[in-house]
Symmetry: C2
Subunit: 271 residues, 2 copies
């Protein structure tokens, strides 16, 4: 069994290392537009060989490229006989882009989203237990066979992940609120932060703004791909912010306290 | 030397424990409107005795009460001969409230703000090293003597803190941006978070929203006391958010990327 790994960074590299340990595949081929990343992946034993194109004899192809490059790979591989699965943070936008190009989704494409750490990057950070106890979501489309879905689910579970199947639009609505919106708000917040502020930054600042140091290219792509779910989430947030601002401006202690208590309740259960 | 500790929770209790270890004071009296807190503080050995009022023979009085109660204590203790120092998160608003009441600031009041953990609370969380390597800010007023300022700075440094002297208005502007605004934004963000989101919450969500679980009473008081610095910070933020929203809406990748890159640069150096 041969796996093609398109994008040999943290996510692709970690999947390959975990799959090798569990003997899910015997041969690993790395494909990456960044020659230094794929060379490093080969040196680290993540892949056995480097290829410029995805070989025709791959049994499966993992698309661990940036979110805005995945649809292009799915289109390019539409005639390839292998199971193709991805790790994009947005699902509906990728499927829409594929349909816009091909008129349909290739039947063997299994859309996936592993909720796994993104703070570090590159093959040097890859490790075989990255997906242990992490949630990996699949968003099947109408052309997908149950057998292909179950095969990909089996691979993720073999790496220790929990899996969940959802409708792509539901996935995108939920992650707009739980992930994409907080990143956007942290990026907006940091615009007014100047050097004289940093020496006065406490633990609250560091935790709150940590995701605002995330990779600009990766998040530009995610925001654009999930624009349809993200814009309404921004607008709901802006209304809540305006209400809280008004309560502070008018000295309405009861309303401030009610909003703060609701925030605390809504978060209860998270750590 | 006798220290009166008004408010025997995390901050007051930790100062008392640290001061006892270093032998800065020999007697500790606890005063707290919450009888269970001050009883627990006595049982834990944080204070030696409990009093309903601040005894007249205290040499120093630490006001570790909620921020919106501090001005009232400063006014009530205006004729007390002891050095009085506080731990309020807002400085200008407290001084303004005192002046509104008395027409002046009592000369022996030394306004302080320790930047120390607030996630836990109560005397049970107090420990003698809470201020080790933490920043404690003093915002002197025109009536304050250099000797009293240096005495309070000496106590904080004895507990391992770093100290810094600032103008109250500068303190409030800086902490509006680095602390009060992030809390307010996290509270606003959590308004739309529902139970179905929490199971999809990753590390980014948890870090970003952690401060949104903070105590509603404490933060209502801080927002109201620092309203004058907080409202302009909210408005600057809203403009930055509107620009980022517009860039996403218009698909202006270059502008999104520029804003995200600026956010990352502005945060560089924080952990």
């Amino acid at each position: 069994m041969k796996l093609g790994v398109v994008g040999t960074g943290l996510i692709g590299g970690s999947f390959a290392l975990g799959a090798r340990t569990r003997n899910l595949f015997q041969q690993f081929v790395g494909i990456d537009p960044d020659p230094s990343a794929v060379k490093q992946a080969a040196e680290l034993g993540i892949v056995d060989e480097i290829a410029a194109e995805v070989p025709g004899d791959c049994d499966a192809i993992l698309l661990a490229a940036p979110s805005d490059h995945i649809a292009g790979w799915v289109v390019a591989l539409a005639e390839h006989p292998a199971i193709v699965f991805d790790v994009g943070s947005v699902k509906g936008g990728i499927l829409d882009a594929v349909v816009a190009e091909l008129g349909h989704v290739p039947p063997r494409f299994v859309p996936c989203h592993p909720i796994a750490g993104r703070e570090r990057s590159g093959p040097g950070s890859a490790h075989e237990e990255l997906f242990a106890d992490r949630l990996v979501i699949q968003t099947p489309h109408s052309q997908l066979s149950q057998a292909d879905l179950e095969q990909v689910v089996f691979w993720w579970r073999s790496l220790g992940a929990r899996t969940q199947t959802m409708i792509a639009a539901d996935h995108d609505d939920i992650y707009a609120v739980t992930s994409h919106l907080p990143h956007l708000l942290a990026f907006a917040y940091l615009q007014q932060v100047a050097p004289e502020h940093l020496q006065h930054a406490g633990a609250g600042f560091r935790d709150f703004s940590r995701i605002g140091g995330s990779d600009p290219d990766m998040w530009t792509a995610i925001f654009e791909l999930n624009k349809n779910a993200l814009l309404p989430a921004i607008d709901a947030y802006s209304e809540d912010l305006a209400r809280l601002r008004r309560a502070v401006d008018e000295g309405d202690s009861a309303d401030i306290r009610a909003l703060l208590a609701k925030a605390r309740r809504n978060r209860a259960g998270s750590s």
